[in-house]
Every structure is written in C-alpha cells, then in structure tokens.
Amino acid sequence: MVRSTTAVELKGITKRFPGLVANDNINFELKKGEIHALLGENGAGKSTLMNILFGLYQPDEGEIWVNGNKTVIDGAGKAIELGIGMVHQHFKLVQPFTVAENIVLGNEPSKVGFLKYRKANQRVRDLSERYGLKVDPQMRIKDITVGMQQRVEILKTLYRGADILIFDEPTAVLTVQEIEELIEILRSLSAEGKSIILITHKLKEVMALADTVTVIRRGKVIRTLPTSETNERHLAELMVGRDVNFQVEKSKQEPGDVVLSVDSLQMKGEQSKNVLDGLGFEVRAGEILGIAGVDGNGQSELVYAITGMRSVNGGSIKLNGKDITNRTPREVSVAGVSHIPEDRHKHGLVLDFTLSENMILGNYFDPQFGKNGFIDFKAMDVLAQQLVTEFDVRGSGIHAKARSLSGGNQQKAIIARELWKNPDLLIAVQPTRGLDIGAIEYVHKRLVEARNQGKAILLVSFELDELYALSDRIAVMYEGRIMGEVDVDNRDDQQLGLMMAGDAAAAATAEGRK
C-alpha cells in the first residue's frame, strides 16, 4: 500500500442536533505535517466537528479516514489509539497534582501497583527536551502559569503518542508573550512531522501560523485555501459572510473637562508587595484612555479601586472634582460611574437571573423600579424590553435566564445596562473578550459613540489592536505603575512591548517622541 500523505480525511460529515444542523456535509482534509486552521465564528460548528474526530460525538452521516484507513471513532480512547490528541480550551488537569503526575495520568509507569515517580519524571523530562517544551515535572499545576499548563496539556497528548494534534482556541487564555511562545512550539511540532488542526476565530493567528485554512460558516465549509493566497480581510469576509469594517470610524475630538483623576494610588496585595504603587492619571470628557499592559500588572486592581470593589491604602480618586476614594460600589455607581467588567460571568451577570432581572442589577434600588421595598416588575420588564430592542440582544426573550444567551449577547446586555445609566465615566475592561468579529465591531461602535457623546472612557485591554483602534491616548501599566504614554498615531509595537515589560528607557523615548 502506498503511504498516505493524508493524516485525516473527513468525508461528508453531517451532525444534527434538535433544531439545528451543526455540521452539514463537511469535507475536510489534513495533510501530514501541516498546520491546518479551522476558522469560524462562535457556533459555526468547529467544535462539533472536532468532537466528532475525537470520538466524543458520532456523526449522523459521513466517513472518517485516518492515515488512509476508514475508521469508526467511538470514543476518546479509540481516538488516542489512532494517535489523535486534543488540547482543550479549558484545560483538563488535576490542580493539586504535579506536572509529571498529570502527564502520565491514565498510563502511569508502575510496578505492582506502585507508581514509579522517578521514571515518570524522567519520561516527562525527555519528552519536554525533545520538543522544546520547557516544564518542571515536579511543580504542582496550581503553582504554574496558564501558558505552562497548556504545555502540560500538549505534553500529555505527546506522551500518549499523538501524531495528530487538535488545538481548541489555544490562545484564548494566553498573554501576548505566551502566544509567541506557543507559535514557536506549534512550528517545532510541525517540523517534527506532527499534523496540527488549529481551531480559532482569530484571523491574525491563522495568517501567522497555518499553512492551510478551512472556513466554516453555519455548519458548512465555505472555502479551503492556502494562507499564502489570502489575507485577513478576505478571511473575515468568508467567515462572517459580509464585508467587515475593521477600522472604527472615529473623528478627532477635543477632550473636555477632567472627569476622572487618579493620584498616587496605593493598594496592598496578598503579600506585602503593592499591587498598585503610586499610580496616577486623568481621563477627560469625550476621550478614551486605553490602558495597555501584560495581565496581572494591577489593571484589575485599578478598576476595583475606582469602582469601590476593593479599598485602597493611599492616594485619591476624584470624579468631577469630588472625592470618591474608598466609597462603596453603590456610591460610586450613583456618582456616575458605569463598569463593563472583565469577567461577565463572575461579575457582570447573575446567570440564573432572567435577562430582565439582570437589567436592573446595580439600579434595582432606584425608586423607578418600585417603592416601599417592593420591586416593580412591570417597570423592570419595560426597561429590559427597551434595551433588548435598542441593543439587539438576541435570545429567547427577556424572561429567559441570562445563562441561555451566547457570550456576545450577554456582553451586549451588560453594555446596554451600563450605558443606560448615562454615566460620566465608563470603565470597560476587556469588553470584547471571547466575542466574534460581528459582535466586536458592534461593541467598538458603541464605545466610540459614547465617547462622541462626551463620556470619559477608561479602556483596559490586552488586545493591542483594540487599544489602537479605540483609544485617544494609551498609557502602559507595569507593576502597579504607569510606565508612560505612547503615541497612538504612530504605532510601534516593539516599543510598546518593551514598556509593557517594564523597560524605563523605552518609556523615556516614548515620552520624548510625543
């Protein structure tokens, strides 16, 4: 038999769920040694297809060929046997176990029932050296970074002898630096002859990494083409099905009075280290101040401090000249601050409340939603209906639980609620995290509109593109301080990267260039 050059071939895969065709006659071919991106918006059917390949779902129609042989994959065990490994978006690791223990889990080197730790550690060390995946086998998962945890997931699949690796949205949880490291890892894996499927909705990664890309929309394959013959704009069009506007329309605008002024803010962390360390800045009416920085440099704490969710140990926060330092979240909100939180599930919504109930979260005490301690459900529903219509929040109506909405619609609901409060200051943290292109476009448009109406906006984001697209000024945060500001008109990622890593010289140059 001729050695096949195809690692995986899916022929005419169809998978139906009640009321939905998740995969509709999909053909997909993964060549040996290539990186093949599977691109599509949330809910396009990427994950379903991969779950079929990994044996978690059975297709209703169609055939699966692996290494030139027709097979039926009836479970993850069979998939692993065939050399297919999956790195999930949400890692499946045992937190209190060590790296080595996690990797050998399910296939432990043992002797009469006793785990041979030294052998396990050695095997993991060998693997990690061979593929250049640096990990310490004896560290515990809960003590290592997210990027490191992902490497453990990759090693786990390699340990089980996988030749075909599926990565499900691998960069969703990583920082800029970690993404670069991951890109290196994927390249070296493919150089070692591994075949890789990359599930993603990020165009940039597809262009930077993949050899081939297959675009899926509403369960159907739209096109398969080599990345050398396409560009981001074209891919976006294929993915969304219409022309996408990357550049947000934004005219120059002279900012007004100072709305938020933060001065020498101090906040103590868990250890004695200051998470906010003498930080200060101003935001004026009608401008967007972007805060750039690597995650964990005090951005969240800054937002908690301004909104009153955590108290500070020193410094002052003023809103329209009035001191709001260490006020309660309600007092800050009433004073005119709205907050689109970083984590919409943790802070932004009560997922088991109805959409309607969520629309008054943070305003429920207002007399217009009921007097004498009772809630006026009619007033609540009227508001919810109005906001849902105005902001095009799609779901099964205002009495459906917030949990049932898609991420993009949940985010729209939060933005609707926060803008409805008509704040002087809007704090938006990672406002487009996990959203697809259509929703991102919408959120950006709304934020710029709010700015044009004269609101002061503080935007915290880890996406440089987002910061440059929206901000009037960008300040870089590092270890609880503002390193300096960069010029938004002359983008220089190199310099910004250095500042985000705490390079004072780069910050000085940036100041000079302004």
Binding site: P329, H339, K346, G348, V350, L361, Y364, I375
Partner: protein, 364 residues
Amino acid sequence: MNTMRKIFDKSSFLVPLVAIILGLLCGALAMYAGGYDPWLAYSSLLKKLFGSPYDIGEAIRAITPLIFTGIAVAFAFRTGLFNIGADGQFIMGMTGATIVGVTLDLPWYIHAPLAIIVGGLFGGLWAALAGYLKAARGVNEVISSIMLNWIALFLSNYIVGTYLVLEGQQKSKPLHESSLVTIKWLSESMGNARMHWGTLIALLGLIVFYVVLWRTKKGYELRAVGLNPNAALYAGMNVNRTIITSMFISGVFAGLGGVFEILGVFGYQTVMASSWGYGFDGIAVALLGGNTPIGVFLGAILFGGLSYGSAGMSFGADVPPEIVRIVIGSIIFFVASHGLVKFFLKPFMARRSGKSKSEGGGAR
C-alpha cells in the same frame, strides 16, 4: 407568576409521585421480607392519618413545625447559605417563648404576641450570630451553626432547669394561660387534638417566604448574593450585611417553629436529653421541596404525615419501629434522588415524546 409556572411543570409532579410509589414498593418489600403484611401496614398508616378527626388534627400538629424549619432552611439555601443550625434556633425559640410565658403575667392580647416575638427574635439572633461570624470572620456557617445547636440545647436546659424549673420535675413551670395560642373550640371538635394558631402562622410564613424573596428589593439582593456574590458586590450590594440578614430571617422562621411547640402544644418546656430533630428534618423538607414555598409545604406534609402515621403501622400491623424507619427512609430516599427516579422514568418519557413528535410530523 413566572416562578409559579416554573414550579408547576409536568415532571415536577410526576417525579415525586413516582418516587413515593417506588419508596412504598421498596418499603413493602422490606416488610414482606420481614414476614409482615405490607398491605395491612399501609392501610394502618392511612387509617392512623385519616382515621379520626383527632388523628387528622394531630397529623397537622406534627406537620406544622416542619413547615417552619423547612422554610428556614430553604430561605437560607436560596441566599447561598446552608443553615444546618435550624435545630438550635428552634430550641432558642422555644426557650424565648417559655421565659416570657412563665415569668411574665400580662393580658392575653399582649402576652401571646410578646412571647411569639421574643421567641422569634431568640431564633433569629441565634442564627445571626453564625451569619455574623461568616460575614466578619469568614467562619463557615455549617460548622458554627452545628456547634451552636449544642450550645442552644444545653443553654436552654440550663435556663429551664435552673430558673424556670417546676420543683422536683425535669420541666419548667407551666406557662401562664394568657400566653398560650391553642384553639380550644377546634381542639374540642377534633377529639382534643392539639390545635393551635401556629399552623395558620406557618401557612402565612410560606407566603412571606415567597413575597420576601421574589417580590421585594431585599429579596432581589438576597437571591443575587445567593446565586453570585461577586456580581452582587459589583452591583453595589453589601454582601456581608446580606448574609447576616438572611441568617436572621431564616432563624426567625426556625425559632417560630419552636415557639408554637411551647405556646400551642405543650404549655411547658422539658429539660431535653437531645433535641427533637425538627431542624434537621427541615433540611430534608427543604430539599424535597426544591426550596420553593409550595415544595416546602408538600414536603412537610409528606415528612410529618409519614412520621405521625407510621405509629399506626406498629400498632395496626405489628411492624417493629426499625422497619417503619426503613419504609420512611426509602420513601425519602427516592424522593430525594431525582436523578434515580428520572432514570426509571426515562424509557417512558422518551417513548412518549417520540410518539408526540411523529404525530406532529404526520399532522403537518
């Protein structure tokens, strides 16, 4: 109204019903294996429950405290707290009522309400203590309230045995007539069953439970804190104060359960070797009822009815008390194991929905 609709979907009736039947079958099996007549036993149980006005009255008497403790536990659950200390709060409620009933002598229209209020406050404050410890110091309410149960038991024994004791007896002096809330005319017409106004208050309590949690702003806060304390903080709610409030309200309900056992049933308080366990049964009632007002009501009826009626099984069919407990246990087991019952029901449910689908297709 939405909440009401949610409570009344199809499976919410079917599942408990099948569970009870499975439990009865299981119990029957146990009795059959032990050489007793299940049919006779179950008919004796029903006879004990509905045989005479006296039995009906006494069954209601047994159900009443379970409604109170069921509400107490369910209320706390709804706000994200596990009030395992309802038992201690129940005892504190009894003690509060006894103190007022024995030591004061007031006209009835002041005395009884005062005893009720003081008893309720005793229970509420006892629970608020656990709430305060959680809010201020992060002490897990399960541990603190379960320990407070023991403290409540011995504290009340000490108070009764030292300050209120009836000379030479292991119980308090009788309460003044003016503090009692018995319903004489009803008792007389029901063969001297111990009927009291507490039952009515318990039913009102169910309504209060619903109105407070689902109609008021305080309830909105309480539920938000229970479902997602982080979002509650974000929304400007005082999470710690809410925890204390919730425990207090929960404790008042549990305390009232104890109050009416004293004011409505006994008229005195004994020095107890161990608690009566109404607080713990309240946990089962709340869970059986899915922490909804109607569910608690039905759960209390099932639980209270079984415990009262089971006496009839020993009496009428010679079933030993151990086996009676097995029967009750298996019924509760199946009612609590939603998943298991749904598993049994699945083939039937699937066939039916499959059929209705194909019918729908044909109609089109």
